[in-house]
Symmetry: C2
Subunit: 224 residues, 2 copies
């Protein structure tokens, strides 16, 4: 493959054009419905050239996931300033996240909707990216707990659950913002912070939500 | 089809067995990888009988989604006692939700992972279920705002965003609880309440998270 003649255009440029076309097509039509003909046409190249460069539809999809996952984590990472307090880091990370997903709706659709369900190796690529973001959020919660001198009171599993909840909330808000006219990245980030941080802030101050115990109305699922 | 001879077993019972087998197979192997042979074998019937009853793999999958979506919304709905305060209603709904997803991991995998990405009509079935749950949560937030006499301060769009965030957090926690040994439905529900309600409670009391304005560190994404 190294000896392919690409006329005037460098291989890297052509490959980027193919990936751009593939992200758009997979993101808008889904992995199954997207055709290599469509992708080649949108990229302005022949279908054999797409196969020559990216090998197969599966490899092309994997390359899309990898590129979009790397771009998203890089956007979040470079958005955060480690010196700030935990809530400001989260605000900065949230704004970077929603700005990126708003600017790359097709890439986000691939990561959020397409890649998780078509089995390995696709799901593993996205799981790795999601784990990196969950780890980042977990770290912020640990830092916040430390800032509030609450380390001993937040067990590791509770922190892990809170991080999963926060990432799930962000994913849901990104999909909502991308399909609701007029919701800006900043608004989505502010809603996440209102929802998440005001709650986490309470937790850090030792004011968790208190479950009503011995409440017979709730006994229906105590059998679980 | 009405004249099919089903030996001793009533049609409804056989159909339920087929759907049980299909939910398990689709949930564990995914829509594409699941085979009708496998489903028929697991149900203990012949493959032609599955086609005779459910028509096609697509129709079978649709029937699975419809059944699992109805069961989940019914579980949440019957878990809630309308007379309670908003936070207790949410706690009851959350426990019912996590109890159901823990007891039906394959059904949850179909709704959460499989159905959303294989195009219409599957995605529409799940979207309708999700909208019903979002509407339920939206209503609870509106009630909570009313209880706290905060109606004028929570614009409709903000309420919609908060409901999306809460449902996304619950979805993420359900997937996490189902794949993390030792996390009970009650723990998942408590984490959601800690995360969500402590935050919502703050909001209702007029204590939103406050964004640092004029913060130059954040200016990197003001271009968005």
């Amino acid at each position: 493959m190294g000896s392919v003649k690409t006329k005037r255009m460098p291989r890297a440029v052509r490959e980027r054009q193919m990936l751009d076309a593939a992200v758009k097509t997979f993101g808008q039509r889904g992995y199954m419905a997207a055709s290599m003909d469509e992708i080649a046409e949108l990229a302005g190249v022949s279908k054999p050239l797409v196969y020559l460069y990216l090998n197969s539809k599966e490899d092309l999809f994997t390359a899309c996931i990898r590129r979009e996952a790397a771009a998203l984590t890089e956007a979040v990472r470079s958005g955060v300033r480690p010196g700030l307090g935990a809530d400001r880091q989260l605000w900065a990370g949230a704004r970077a996240f929603f700005t990126h997903t708003a600017q790359n709706p097709d890439g986000w659709a691939i990561l959020h909707l397409q890649a998780r369900t078509h089995g390995e190796p696709f799901a593993a690529e996205v799981a790795a990216m999601r784990e990196e973001i969950v780890a980042f959020v977990t770290q912020l919660i640990v830092v916040a707990a430390r800032e509030a001198h609450r380390d001993p009171d937040l067990p590791e599993r509770e922190v892990a659950g809170l991080a999963e909840a926060l990432v799930g909330a962000a994913e849901s808000l990104a999909a909502w913002a991308n399909t609701t006219p007029g919701v800006s990245a900043r608004q989505a980030a502010a809603t996440l912070m209102n929802f998440a941080w005001a709650g986490l802030g309470n937790l850090m101050e030792g004011r968790p939500w208190s479950a009503p115990d011995a409440d017979q109305v709730l006994s229906f699922d105590d059998r679980a």
